[in-house]
Structures are given as structure tokens and as C-alpha cells.
């Protein structure tokens, strides 16, 4: 089986210059990989560095050392050292991310927010909108909302827009940061089904799920992030 994502010996700390340069270690010596068609879940208590790890994998946080290798087209790219242009290209074609919260742009309709990643990949606006509409109805978002900007939507509605946006492309690696946190049981089940479909399509998924039921349903493997946390070493 192909392994499109390999994280190797990653170390991350935050230096708080406004607090006298205090250094907060986050994780150290993180190594794992995610295979195609597999859903790997990052586990452990809050504040242990799960989200930070996901953000590093997306190139959103810098890493102090180590490698984050992703198969992009036919090449291997190290996201820890890649230049911004390369990271943008990787995000456009290979690496998707569903964040916890939707960052809304004023005046852009929900359906266009969802369609945008496809348009950025060169898809025709109409085809992209059709796919967006399919996903939104699958996620039970009332059609009356599609043409409205999502800024005024409820938490659960925004999250569904966010999920649709993340799932619309055929990215080969997908990162999920608590995609079901503010959804009801019915929509959670829809998302679980969508994750299953992605797995069948050979997508490598890496996610955080606090909801035990969802985690049980989708996880092939759980990585305990606590073992990478320097704080554990201090406590022990």
C-alpha cells in the first residue's frame, strides 16, 4: 500500500517573545505515517498538541526540526522546508484540511465557498457548483441558505459548509480537525459515511475526533500524542 504522508522526528516548540522569551515545548520526536485508504486518529487529552501537529502537517505552523513528507504529484515534498509557493501548490492539489471553524469571507455565498477549491484546481464554475450543491444537500444544509454568506450561520451549519469545502476535491491526503464537533447525530452519521467513501477511494486521512462514537467508527489506528509530549516526561 502506498504511503503518501510520512512524519519523521518532528520537534515543535513555541517561543513567547512577549513573555520574556519563555519557551513552551509542544511535541518532540514525532514519527508516524499514514497509508492510502487509512484513517489515522490523533488521540490524547486536550492541550497535548494534537491540533498543533495537524497544523504543522498543513504547513500552517512551522516546525523546529524534522520532516513532513508528502507525495505531491510524482514527487516527495518536505513541508517542513518547502517554500510558500510549493506549499500552496500542495494544498491546491494534494493536501486538504477541514478546520474546526470556518473563516468566512464577506459577501461570498455558501455554495461558492464550497465550490472554491475545485475552481482553484481549474474546474468550471458550473460543474464545481453542481458538486457543491450535491454535498450540501447530502449534509442536510437547507437549500435556502446556499446563496447566503455563511457568516451568520449557526455553528453546525458553518461546520457543514466547512466539511463540504474540504471533501469536494479529490485530494489524496485529508486532515480533519474535529469535523463533527458541533453536529447532531444524524449529520455525524453522514460525515462518518463520507469518511468511509474517502477511505475506499484511497485517500489517506489524519484526524482529531473527540466524539468517541465517531472515532470508533472511522479510526483504523489511534496514535497517542501524549507519548510525544515533553510534559509527560516532566510529570513522570
Amino acid at each position: 500500500m502506498a504511503t503518501p504522508l510520512v512524519v519523521s522526528e518532528v520537534v515543535k516548540s513555541f517561543t513567547m517573545h512577549l513573555r520574556d522569551g519563555i519557551k513552551l515545548p509542544v511535541v518532540s520526536d514525532v514519527s508516524f505515517s499514514v497509508a492510502s485508504g487509512e484513517c489515522v486518529v490523533l488521540g490524547g487529552p486536550s492541550g497535548i498538541g494534537k491540533s498543533s501537529l495537524l497544523k504543522m502537517t498543513y504547513g500552517n505552523y512551522a516546525v523546529d526540526s524534522g520532516q513532513i513528507l508528502i507525495k505531491h504529484h510524482d514527487k516527495i515534498v518536505d513541508l517542513a522546508t518547502a517554500d510558500p509557493r510549493t506549499i500552496i501548490d500542495v494544498r491546491r492539489h494534494t493536501l486538504g484540511y477541514v478546520s474546526q471553524f470556518l473563516r468566512t469571507v464577506p459577501r461570498v455565498a455558501a455554495i461558492d465557498v464550497v465550490a472554491e477549491p475545485l475552481v482553484a484546481r481549474g474546474e468550471k464554475a458550473e460543474t464545481a457548483r453542481e458538486k457543491a450543491a450535491n454535498l450540501l444537500s447530502k449534509l442536510n444544509l437547507p437549500e435556502a441558505l446556499w446563496q447566503l454568506p455563511p457568516a451568520t450561520f449557526s455553528g453546525g451549519e458553518q461546520q457543514r459548509v466547512n466539511i463540504a469545502r474540504g471533501f469536494i476535491t479529490e485530494h489524496t491526503v485529508l486532515l480533519l480537525d474535529e469535523p463533527t464537533a458541533s453536529l447532531d447525530a444524524r449529520n455525524r452519521a453522514v460525515v462518518v459515511g463520507m469518511i468511509e467513501e474517502k477511505k475506499k477511494a484511497g485517500v489517506a486521512l489524519l484526524g482529531i475526533f473527540h466524539d468517541e462514537e465517531v472515532r470508533e467508527a472511522v479510526a483504523d489506528r489511534i496514535i497517542d500524542v501524549q507519548k510525544f509530549s515533553p510534559r509527560k516526561a516532566i510529570a513522570a
Binding site: 517561543t15 504547513g59 500552517n60 512551522a62 500552496i88 469571507v105 459577501r107
Partner: protein
């Protein structure tokens, strides 16, 4: 991904006597890429923008531009006529104050048409219809085409300035605090418009702003300046979400939440 940068900036420095305007700035800009230059007032952002756009001669350094014929030319070695031609056709410059970029006493249509005439358009009917098309794209009612920008609101003037700059299909646009003096609702409309146009036209842009939210919305890449130096440079969301330098951390932590 295109393989050749549109602009190569090498060690550009500008001194005002003993004082530093900007110092040893180098970067490359690629087609379709939006770069934000952020920093507080007096950090050298506008000096740098003016140097790159040849509105100001730097003390040292060079800027190479990828011409439409495929050759790289050093902007500071071009003669004045060549530079002016470039600025009128292949580039745009959007000023913070629209009055600096518009002719306030000729009609809106003529403001847009003037740039078309600079690239050789002579057919009045075509020029007028193109002008109407562009006024619509920036959401100005076509009935206002014969009004002077003096009669426009601040937000309309700024949108007209954008239309005037984009009508010639430039490949590179410089913007100096494009949303500076506008109230927030007008600002949101303008930002959405600029974002859409940049995406649709595949423009490269360099945007100077002190507003980090504007930078986040519009730019791919970000440079943080302080005292004339570039202190941090990277992917926009990386710089804003995981700032490394003390000054960048201060800047990001100073944003007011609404």
C-alpha cells in the same frame, strides 16, 4: 505552476541621508501571486513599494521584470519612456488616496478610457463600451459614466481607480493601503471585489497594508517589515498563526477581536 518569476528583487536599499528607508530587500514574485507587505507606520513598506514600482530610485540594488517578450529587464536601467510605457500598460498602481491615481476633473469613463488610449485604442465606441463593462465589474452604475470622480463617494472613487488600473489587463498591480480611508462595510465590498478580480484575472499583486486582516484575506505570502528591514517572510497563514519574531508576535497579538 509557472516556472519563471515575474519579478526579481535583489538587495534593494533606499537611504534618506543617514536614515534607512529600506535595507537589502530581496524576493521573487511569481505570476498570479499576491504578496502583502505589512508593518507599522514608518517601517519602510511604502518606500519599498515605491522603489520596486520605480516611482522612487533606490540607493542600491536591482529589480528585474519578466517582459511579455520573455526577456528579463533591469527596471532601473530602462529609460524613462520604456518605464512609463510599462507602468501604463503592464502594471497598475492603486493609491491609498484615489485622488492621486485618478483625474478628478474628467469623467469616470474617460478615466478608464485614458489607459486604453495609451495602449493604442482609438475607436471611441469600443473604448466607451469597455469602460462601461469595467464600471459594472467594479459595481458602479453605468449611468454614472459621464460624471466626474469629484462627485463620487470615497468607496466609489477607489473602485473607479481599480477599474482604471485593470482595464489594460496588467500582469502586476501595486496597491498602497487600498482600503485605508474607507469605512468597514465599504472596505469589505472592496476586498471581496479585489479578491475576485485577482483570482479571475490571475494577477500578481504587491499590497502594502498595516491591516493584518486585509493581508490574510488577499495575500498568499507575507513580508513583515520593521525599521526598514524584512524581519519575517513566509506563507501568510503561517506568519499570522505561528509568528516567530518578537515584533511579529507583538503585531499579531495586538489585533482587536470583534
Amino acid at each position: 505552476m509557472s516556472d519563471t518569476p515575474l519579478l526579481k528583487v535583489n538587495d534593494v536599499s533606499k537611504f534618506y541621508g543617514n536614515r534607512i528607508g529600506c535595507r537589502k530587500v530581496s524576493f521573487e514574485l511569481w505570476p498570479g501571486e499576491v504578496l502583502a507587505i505589512v508593518g507599522e507606520s514608518g517601517s519602510g513598506k511604502t518606500t519599498l513599494l515605491n522603489c520596486i514600482s520605480t516611482r522612487l530610485m533606490p540607493t542600491a540594488g536591482s529589480v528585474e521584470y519578466h517582459m511579455r517578450d520573455g526577456a528579463y529587464r533591469d527596471l532601473y536601467r530602462m529609460n524613462e519612456a520604456e518605464r512609463r510605457f510599462l507602468m501604463r500598460t503592464d502594471w497598475g498602481f492603486v493609491h491609498q488616496n484615489p485622488a492621486d491615481g485618478l483625474r478628478m476633473t474628467v469623467s469616470a469613463g474617460a478615466n478608464v478610457g485614458e489607459r486604453l488610449m495609451a495602449i493604442g485604442d482609438r475607436h471611441y465606441g469600443n473604448i466607451r463600451s469597455t469602460a462601461i463593462d469595467w464600471l459594472q465589474r467594479v459595481e458602479i452604475d453605468e449611468g454614472r459614466i459621464d460624471d466626474q470622480p469629484r462627485a463620487f463617494s470615497g468607496g466609489m472613487r477607489q473602485r473607479l481607480q481599480i477599474a482604471r488600473n485593470l482595464v489594460t489587463g496588467p500582469r502586476l498591480v501595486f496597491m498602497d493601503e487600498p482600503t485605508g480611508g474607507l469605512d468597514v462595510s465599504v472596505q469589505a465590498r472592496l476586498l471581496d471585489l479585489v479578491r475576485g478580480l485577482v483570482n479571475d484575472l490571475g494577477l500578481a499583486a504587491i499590497i502594502v497594508t498595516h491591516d493584518l486582516a486585509v493581508a490574510r484575506l488577499l495575500s498568499h505570502r507575507m513580508m513583515v517589515m520593521k525599521d526598514g528591514h524584512v524581519i519575517e517572510h513566509g506563507l501568510t497563514d503561517r506568519v499570522l498563526d505561528d509568528p516567530r519574531e518578537p515584533y511579529t508576535q507583538l503585531l499579531v497579538s495586538s489585533i482587536l477581536q470583534v
